[in-house]
């Protein structure tokens, strides 16, 4: 159940500045408005939602009481205007997605909610809610649609299609940084985000040999920063990430930590009483 407050937390309060700039660039793509109309229509009529509703388990106070309670916490902390339906899908990866334009819904993989702690779950579901709150879902649907379209046999010259792809994917990566910030807010701090991101980097249950405390990863983040200072390594990194929808884990971790320590985050938590 949502308790939206018009004077409460809004997306621009925490959005990553690069996300805003990149999205503004995406909106300049010609014929975007026309295609947006098609996408909205497609999603309204598509069977995706029906598939989720039939195949996956919806999170309610009866099916997943613990997750349901945590979900309500995330909805409150993010001051959501809508309550997307939340589904759990039987899948063995740390992943989830948000889709649906007029009626957004979230699907999380069972593996992503089985092992992680409450804080990690709050971060994960908050991350997905962040996509909804910032209106990313429409544009990320566009990214998927356009990317599939231009990767198929089209008469459009590659120089244009690749240029459009790179632009859209660049925005997609920035939007993930915004969603990470939403996840931090939902989790009430950085810890859930850090530990969940460590899972992308190899953390798993029953590992007695590695200390996954995030203070021990500082040196690796510094190595990453040093690498970014060298042209060759920077070029390699760009080549590795340019066709990805998400930034690499270490970059996400660094951005999340930097923001959680910033005065912006402190102001948000104090202003909206989010501690």
């Amino acid at each position: 159940m949502i308790h939206y407050d018009p004077k409460g937390l809004q997306a621009p309060d925490y959005e990553h500045p690069a996300d805003r700039i990149a999205l503004a660039a995406v909106k300049k793509i010609p014929l975007l408005d026309t295609m947006l109309g098609w996408v909205m229509d497609y999603h309204t009529k598509s069977g995706d939602y029906q598939l989720a509703a039939l195949n996956d388990i919806r999170v309610t106070e009866h099916t997943y009481p613990r997750l349901y309670k945590l979900y309500q916490t995330a909805l409150d902390r993010l001051n959501m205007e809508v309550e997307p339906k939340l589904f759990i899908k039987n899948e063995f990866s740390y992943n989830g997605y948000t889709t649906g334009v007029k009626e957004p819904y979230i699907v999380l993989n069972s593996f992503a909610v089985g092992e992680p702690t409450d804080e990690e779950f709050l971060y994960l579901v908050g991350h997905e809610l962040g996509h909804v709150k910032s209106g990313h879902v429409l544009y990320s649907s566009m990214v998927n649609l356009i990317y599939s379209f231009i990767k198929s046999n089209t008469p459009i010259p590659p120089i244009i299609t690749e240029g459009v792809s790179l632009s859209l994917l660049s925005w997609s990566r920035k939007s993930e940084l915004t969603a990470d910030r939403a996840g931090i807010i939902a989790a009430g701090g950085i810890n859930g985000a850090e530990q969940f991101m460590m899972r992308f980097m190899g953390k798993s249950a029953n590992n007695r040999y590695v200390d996954f405390s995030t203070d021990k990863i500082t040196q690796q983040i510094e190595s990453f920063d040093d690498m970014q200072g060298q042209l060759t390594n920077k070029a390699v990194y760009w080549l590795l990430v340019s066709m990805q929808t998400h930034p690499m884990a270490i970059e996400r971790l660094r951005e999340a930590q930097a923001w959680a320590k910033s005065s912006d985050y402190k102001l948000i938590t104090e202003r909206f009483d989010l501690k």
């Binding site: 460590m198 899972r199 992308f200 980097m201 190899g202 953390k203 798993s204 249950a205 029953n206 590992n207 007695r208 040999y209 590695v210 200390d211 996954f212 405390s213 021990k216 990863i217 040196q219 690796q220 190595s223 990453f224 690498m227 060759t232 390594n233 390699v236 990194y237 080549l239 590795l240 990430v241 690499m248 884990a249 270490i250 970059e251």
Partner: protein
């Protein structure tokens, strides 16, 4: 104990393949140069960005294990170690000049200290034996073979030959583990890791598995041909083959002689 050098643990098939490469003048140096200035740079960036680096700070037990193993095999500086989220029950060593070890998260989750230390021997032994060169050639052919002006059939023959080498290296790993641990039952048990959950493997009778391996190694005629053909395109031998190899190596007395020489 003396340093365990390659002459003691390299499987003859593995050694022959490596020597064949080394006989081509300058080829290994060329590959080292290409690897150092291309793939290894890319791999290091990728690992730093996507995988947790294991150091004395966050994984002292593992780093110390590698240090002990390195000392036993005459390696002064152990490669960088990264953790990778994987269900696979094997690690990877990537690179020739400055390799990285990628440890599978499943390996760390499944093994106790004794099992793990013996298991990790393969990573160091492989590097010392020069497997990085072969692995790099395989990688180049897999990724760029399609651009070469040779028929696909020729590439397939070449890849089959590379797979033949790739299978031999597991026999080398098993021998290296045996020399390091001197624990026959443990090494044979490690060969079975990944076949079934640990709780089930613990209940299996090792002697029965050895008997199965022996009957496998004694197959003749059509069965023998089928046995060879069944792994032609694979880069890993059947576990029964590995068990049979280790069994023969120990039972023949060769292992005992080497062990005595190393004292």
């Amino acid at each position: 104990m003396k340093t365990i050098t390659t002459e003691y643990f390299l499987h003859p098939g593995d050694e022959a393949a490596i020597q064949a490469i080394r006989k081509i003048p300058g080829f290994e140096k060329l590959l080292d140069y290409i690897s150092k200035n291309s793939y290894e740079k890319v791999d290091l960036v990728q690992r730093t960005c996507c995988s947790l680096q294991l150091t004395e700070n966050n994984a002292p037990k593992i780093i110390q294990m590698y240090a002990r193993i390195g000392k036993a095999f005459g390696l002064e500086e152990t490669p960088k170690v990264f953790l990778r989220r994987s269900y696979a029950m094997h690690n990877e060593v990537v690179g020739i000049h400055s390799p990285c070890i990628l440890i599978s998260s499943s390996v760390l989750a499944s093994m106790n200290k004794e099992e793990l230390e013996t298991f990790l021997v393969a990573d160091i032994a492989g590097f010392v034996a020069g497997h990085g060169t072969y692995a790099f050639i395989r990688r180049l052919i897999s990724e760029f073979g399609g651009f070469l002006p040779v028929p696909r059939e020729v590439l397939e023959i070449f890849l089959t030959a590379m797979n033949a080498w790739a299978k031999q290296r597991y026999y080398t790993y098993d021998r290296a583990r045996m020399l390091y641990s001197d624990n026959y039952e443990l090494v044979m048990r490690l060969i079975g890791f990944g076949e079934a959950p640990k709780e089930i493997m613990a209940k299996t009778d090792l002697d029965a598995r050895i008997e199965q391996a022996r009957s496998f190694s004694q197959m003749t005629g059509l069965q023998s041909s089928l046995k060879t053909a069944s792994v032609l395109t694979k880069d890993k031998p059947w576990n029964a083959m590995r068990l049979a190899e280790m069994y023969n190596w120990v039972e023949s007395g060769i292992y005992a002689d080497i062990k005595e020489e190393l004292q």
